[in-house]
Structures are given as structure tokens and as C-alpha cells.
Amino acid sequence: MAEYHLTTPISEEEARKLKVGDVIYVSGEHVYTARDEAHERALEMYEKGEKPPVEFEGSVVYHVGPVAQKKDGEWNIVSAGPTTSIRMEIFEDEFLRNYKARVIIGKGGMADRTLAALKEVGAVYCSFTGGCGALAARGLKEVRAYEWSDLGMPEALWVITAEEFGPLMVTMDSHGNSLHDDADDQVSTKKAEVYSIIGVEE
């Protein structure tokens, strides 16, 4: 396990160096929030040949619907823990192939389609501890833009400058490894023991 401090835009080479279990901290201007609807919109724009309002290549895309507050005309991120990533599984592989983001952040992990795309494109999936919105907000220093605000605060595309945002644990890498799959396998080996506690046969 290694620790890395990366600055956006992140290159394919840098992303391919990362392995599951590594911890990274991210700084830089190419940090965006995107949930279901922002993914969907980005894909629609790609299909129509339109350009999204941000540069996704080399970026960090965070599955989060933040709590933000406008003070003195400027938006601040108040609390921003990750949302459940598996909902974005239907979009993420195509999103990665089209836009070449290098780090996807969320919670709970993603599935085979995303894992294959991470390998193909050279990107990683990182887990940030679910519910830790106050801790996350510390690393999300400045909101530079609030795009697609018609989608509402949680679903909009927030454009953020990050400073040492983390710790982010790499749980899916570009070498086909997933700590989430490992954990699933580990739990399935415990099934008989768990059933015996409640008096059920497998």
C-alpha cells in the first residue's frame, strides 16, 4: 500500500500506477461532482457532438450531491460525503471511454462494466467513507462554477478546486482488481457460519 498526492489533470500513466489498497489525496481544479442525471446529460451531449462546460479528461469525478450554501454571492461546499456509486454503473463505462476521467470517487464500489472500462481507459475508482460529509468538505476548497443548476443542488455539476482532498482508498484499479469483489467473496465464505447462528440450513 502506497500513498500518493496527485494534482489534476491526472495522466493515464499516473492513474495506471495506482493499485487497490493505495491511498491518494487529490488537489487541483479539475474536480467535478456528478450523479445520475449529470452522467446522463454528459452522455447525451457527447452523442449530439456538444461540448460540456468542463474539461473531463484527466479529471476527478465525485459521486456526490453536496450541501452547498451561498454566502456573499459565493457558493461554499458545506458537507459532501459520497453517494452510492452502483447507481451510476449504467453510465460509467461509456462516460469513461468518452471523456477519459482518471479518478472516480464514490462509495460502495461498482461492477464489471466499470471495472473493464477502468482497465481500458487507465483510471481508478476510489472509496471515500460514506456519510463523512463534513470531513470531505474540508478538502473541497473553492466552488468555481455551479453548472447544470437546473438539475437541482444534489444532481448539478459542481466545479471545484480541491486541496489535499482525501483520504481516498483505491478500491478498483486499472489492473482488473476490485476490493469490493474481494470483500464479497470473503463474505460468501462466511455464509454457512452465519446461517448456523440463526439455525438455518444453506
Binding site: P66, V67, A80, T83, G131, C132, A134, P154, H180, V187
Partner: protein
């Protein structure tokens, strides 16, 4: 003379603020104990982030960005004189807390789309009323996060599967969603009644203080067995392995129809936010879960 609607509104704003920023003491203690108990490195990392997060949150920042959909549980004394003020006061308090804390606007119209922007709208906040003897009103603010709500289920079991079948449903559900509901979780189980009743009972269990067992020994035994079984899965905090998958399991029941065995399973993330106060008929407010300083 105090304005009753103002008193109820102000008290509820404080309840929502405290719920969003400070866990009830016993939940935080349970998380600290879990950190001490864990030996798995991933589990330690996750729990340490959670504890650090709670420290930052206690300065007045919502601990989780998902500040929930607004649900209130009300115990209304038959003789509390201001019942007609309550519904409006709770909606007003919700709007005010959304702006001040701030809370994330989470009320979305499922038919025509769109976010109301202030956490209110058709049937939201949702009010669970219970009429009780007395002349006071107890309000519990229970902002419920979406991630854990998404893995709540109701199972319509065949009565023949018995209690073993009930326990299997709870365990299988947890092994299915793994850490996606932000474990360590608190799980509420409602057995019997009907489809809706079982889920209502299940969700209400999430209000019971941790480590308090059901008064009936047969039910308490089911709770204990489920705690042991779920923690033996090795799912651990955030599903990345470890000993602590649940902080607690709470079970309750209602009589059932001979043909049905409904089981509701409600899931709560580690951010088990709730805050309770009572308001007397002369409009004195007492905060139960988050007492005022110096009390």
C-alpha cells in the same frame, strides 16, 4: 403569552439542527467502541474517518451531505391544546432549518420531476402521529438518508418458514447490499400486521436507544441472534471487511393474519440522526436527546 406556533417552530428548528450535526450520545459511543474493537485495517480506517467527521460536524456542519427526507414522530397528548398548530409549525421549521443549517433540499416530485428546494412538498415532511394520554407533545425529528432507505425491504413470507425464515430474510438482505448502506448499520425489523404495518413497525424501531433490548425475552433473543449473525458476516464498516457490520438490531411485532407472515426490514446508516423534545401545555420545551448547555 408565548405564540404556540412560534415555540413549536423554534424547538423543531433546533431539533433538525442538532439531528444533522450531532449524533445522540449513545450512537457516538457505540462507534467509538467499534473502533476500539476492530483489528482489521480497512475497518479501522473507515471508523477513524467517521469519528474525525463527527468532530468536525459538532462545530455545526451537517455530518452527512444527505441530510435526509424529513420525517417526524409525534406523541400527542389528548389534552395538548395546540395540536392544530403542529403541522404548519413543522413545515415552517423544515424550511427554516433547510436555509439556516443548511440542509440539502431533498424533496423531489416523483410525477412531474423537480426539487421543491426547501424540503417540503406533497406529504413531506411526513408526520407519524400517535395519540397518548397527557397534555404534552413529544416531537422526534428523524431525517432519513436515502442510501440506507434504498435497501429497506418488505418480505411477504409463507407462515410455514417460521422465525428462522424471518431471520434468514434479514441476514440475506444484509449480505445482498453489503456495505452500501453505510455500515455499521442499525436494523429495525417488524414482524406481522400486514405489508404496511410491518414496515412501519420496522422503521419505528430505529428510534429505540441502542443496546436496549425488547422487554419480551423471546423477542430480545431474536435481536441478539441477529446482531451476532450479522457481525459474523465480516461485511464490516463500509463493506470493506471487519467485525462491526451492525451497531444494533431492534425487533418488534404485531399479530398477523393466519395466511401471512409479513416482515419489514428498515435499515439505518451509522449516521443515526434523531432528536427529541417535549413541549408542555404551558409551552415549556425540554430537549431529551440533545439537552441545552448546562442542563
Amino acid at each position: 403569552m408565548k405564540d404556540p406556533q412560534q415555540v413549536i417552530t423554534d424547538a423543531t428548528v433546533r431539533l433538525l439542527t442538532k439531528a444533522a450535526t450531532e449524533l445522540p450520545d449513545e450512537v457516538e459511543t457505540a462507534l467509538r467502541e467499534a473502533y476500539e474493537r476492530e483489528t482489521n485495517e480497512n475497518a479501522k480506517t473507515q471508523l477513524s474517518a467517521i469519528l474525525k467527521n463527527l468532530e468536525i460536524a459538532s462545530t455545526g456542519v451537517p455530518m452527512c451531505q444527505d441530510t435526509g427526507i424529513m420525517i417526524f414522530y409525534l406523541k400527542a397528548g389528548y389534552d395538548f391544546p395546540y395540536l392544530s398548530e403542529v403541522e404548519d409549525a413543522l413545515a415552517k421549521a423544515t424550511r427554516k432549518a433547510t436555509e439556516n443549517v443548511p440542509l440539502r433540499p431533498n424533496a423531489v416530485n416523483p410525477i412531474v420531476g423537480g426539487n421543491s428546494g426547501d424540503n417540503t412538498g406533497e406529504k413531506i415532511p411526513w408526520l407519524n402521529w400517535e395519540l397518548v394520554p397527557g397534555d404534552s407533545l413529544e416531537i422526534t425529528a428523524f431525517p432519513k438518508g436515502g442510501g440506507s432507505e434504498n435497501v429497506s425491504i418488505v418480505g411477504m413470507l409463507k407462515p410455514g418458514v417460521g422465525l428462522a425464515g424471518v431471520k434468514k430474510l434479514v441476514v440475506d438482505n444484509a449480505m445482498d447490499y453489503m456495505g452500501k448502506a453505510c455500515s455499521p448499520n442499525i436494523i429495525g425489523v417488524g414482524i406481522g400486521g400486514g405489508a404496511d404495518i410491518s414496515l412501519k413497525i420496522a422503521k419505528k424501531q430505529l428510534l429505540r436507544p441502542l443496546n436496549q433490548r425488547h422487554p419480551e425475552p423471546e423477542v430480545a433473543e431474536i435481536e441478539e441472534e441477529l446482531i451476532e449473525a450479522l457481525n459474523a458476516t465480516g461485511i464490516g464498516p463500509m463493506g470493506l471487511g471487519g467485525k462491526t457490520t451492525v451497531l444494533d438490531v431492534k425487533v418488534d411485532y404485531a399479530m398477523r393474519h393466519p395466511a401471512s407472515l409479513p416482515v419489514g426490514v428498515a435499515v439505518q446508516c451509522w449516521a443515526a440522526r434523531r432528536s427529541t423534545a417535549t413541549i408542555s401545555k404551558d409551552l415549556k420545551v425540554e430537549y431529551i436527546t440533545h439537552p441545552l448547555e448546562g442542563k
